[in-house]
Subunit: 405 residues, 2 copies
């Protein structure tokens, strides 16, 4: 039976139902919303109207209570929501609780606990290696194929899609500069990534096994890991990226539950070396950990890249197992980024550093050349995944405009 | 006039008054406490008993509301507390609200937002450089004297003093190993640091100036940045430390307000190169940014090092200015570590990596040799700072025991 007023084949149909947090027009109150087509259902109000026990999870200003509730609750709530927006007898109760998407304000949908960023695309890592270490024997560092390299980022500067990003200032030092100079970044870049949102916490000292991924991770979003390459290049040896990244990280306003992506699960690429047991997803009984997400990156509406997430060497399940194997605990709201998604083709590279080969080959956009981002540029990432019966599951887009400092 | 029952010269006398969060014996309720000698004053109950307007800041389960209240409130509350514990007419109301320190449970005193760790001791950085890059022309990386190098750590695994630390497992690869091996760390280390606690937030896109340090930072604590050197060595190129650090970071249960340390302020070491204006604390009108804190590190009660904080090249004010110069915002509860404190003398080195020169020269302890930590080892850091009239201001100790995985 058809969903309420959503055209057949809409990537945000009732097979999708991503979660967000919105304020209705004219209000600053934050409420959990579920996207259906180009509308947002006030999920807490719907639960209340139908006398659902899930009102305590849904009538909330953030997704955190739902995230913490665990896999069984996630399934139950999703099943209930699906019924609410498709069963005709609910129509009269539910229909008044929809808001046009264009009328609401969308907020950061959860309180970010820790934020970790990985580096899991082999194509990206090889390109970066060739750009920065052209004389190295191998463009990958020796550890790259043995563990998913990651580092902690700044959770306090994670912002929701459509938040302006102020161009960061900082130190940079070119090869010819006798001393570092200070000023606004002149090599401001993007990184197209997928972000994974942890729901269920874990205990300090207790690693999370590879096959417990879906017990802990609720869903995913698109993520733009804004990067100031000039600041990063001068600061990052020996302790890694810091101010080149910490000024802003944008996430989509919609969190897609993993359950909506069951048709998009794929096996990851073949491994070059055998993996240590805690990372070995070729072992019997381990579910395929990849996701077939088709990302599109546009600058000022012009598509510049289409990175395929299915090409990632390390999966989100491996990243979670690695991140906790030392006993580090998880909290509800932990966010981790996949790392820049780059496919093997030039037009599949997920950042300008690669797309322009560190500025050597600027992109030709309708409004001029781009080596790196200019003030006023709007970067938008969108994506879809295969659904059932040839349909599509849409991911919420992540967009942001660069503004001058 | 004498404080209630605290001996003259006690480093935790009424000139100190650090803040913590405790549960009285037999209770799990969390309350803000103020340490006086070997007692804890229930600060919220005291405020209520005396009809103080600060009850809303003090009758709380964490320090966060007080931290967020800002510098004027910090001074006012401190002045009130000083009166409560010294003016004889308050004695009958206040005395019943003290708990023996030995009877209470101490908790992590604030909710940690972001955690950043710096690398600000020149002696430490030079020793590490010589150990790991013996052939390098300069033991410091080229950026070291131009900016305070830092990186983000895991805030979810910051634990309060006396929390056991589970030995982390992870990948390591020795020079002779054909592939990485997995197991409990065999090079578990400490790092003696000072942690700074941010109270007042800042806005994204707006740097915090060097001389606004005391408007934002409430106080400091001792911090042990536990480090698994074998895990760190294999993982850290190119994105910095991750699992080698993220399993645990211990902080003292007591946060010393900066106001208690006014007599300990000292000028930092002379700078080798002129600094960019946002870091230049030699400019007129900038207050001295160093603190003369005398740290002591003991393993199983045996003192192994006495690192002097006054030798740090970069100050906490410079670290704050740097951390925000790209527009990264601050939140109440942000914590940043100074980096390992090492003085110029061998007996002033703040980690075993340096003290044993990467295991080459094990320490001789009463209970045997130590290259790195063994299961059951208890590491305790304590410190004091000069107070008025030759007195001392004690810092709360940070202690932790290593337990096997």
């Amino acid at each position: 039976m058809p969903p309420f007023d959503v055209p057949e084949g809409d990537p945000f149909g009732p097979h999708n139902l991503p979660y967000g947090v919105f304020s209705p027009a004219g209000s600053t109150e934050r409420r959990v919303g579920v996207r259906l087509g180009d509308h947002v259902l006030d999920a807490g109000a719907a639960a209340a109207a139908l006398g659902s026990p899930y009102v305590s999870l849904l009538a909330q200003p953030t997704l955190n209570p739902l995230l913490a509730a665990g896999r069984t609750a996630w399934s139950d709530v999703r099943r209930a929501l699906t019924a609410w927006v498709t069963v005709p007898s609910h129509r009269s109760a539910i229909e008044p609780l929809f808001h046009p998407l264009s009328s609401v304000t969308l907020h950061l949908p959860f309180e970010v606990a820790d934020y970790v960023d990985f580096y899991a695309s082999e194509n990206h890592a090889r390109n970066v290696g060739q750009i920065f270490r052209p004389d190295a024997e191998d463009s990958l560092t020796p550890n790259w194929k043995h563990l998913p390299i990651g580092y902690h980022g700044r959770s306090g500067t994670v912002v929701v899609s459509d938040t302006d990003v102020v161009r960061p200032s900082g130190q940079r030092k070119g090869p010819g500069d006798p001393a570092p100079v200070f000023g606004p970044s002149i090599r401001l870049d993007i990184e197209a990534e997928v972000g994974f949102v942890v729901g269920v916490p874990s205990e300090q000292g207790r690693p999370v096994a590879l096959d417990d991924f879906r017990e802990h991770v609720f869903g995913l979003c698109l993520l733009n890991d804004w990067s100031a390459r000039d600041i990063q290049a001068w600061e990052y040896v020996p302790l890694g990226p810091f101010l080149g990244k910490s000024f802003a990280t944008s996430v989509s306003a919609w969190i897609t539950p993993l359950e909506a992506l069951d048709h998009a699960r794929v096996a990851p690429p073949e491994r070059t070396y055998p993996l240590l047991p805690y990372l070995d997803d070729s072992a019997p009984g381990i579910e395929p950990g990849g996701y077939d997400l088709r990302i599109s990156v546009a600058i000022n509406g012009h598509v510049v890249s289409e990175p395929p997430f299915s090409t990632m060497y390390w999966t989100a399940a491996q990243q979670l197992a690695h991140m906790t194997v030392n006993g580090a605990s998880l909290r509800t709201g932990d966010l981790y980024g996949s790392g820049t998604v780059s496919g093997p083709e030039e037009a599949q590279r997920g950042c300008l550093l690669e797309l322009t080969w560190n500025g050597r080959d600027p992109l030709e956009l309708p409004d001029g050349k781009r080596a790196f981002l200019e003030d006023g540029d709007v970067v938008t990432m969108s994506a879809w995944a295969p659904g059932a019966d040839g349909g599509r599951v849409g991911l919420g887009e992540v967009s942001g405009r660069v503004v001058s400092v």
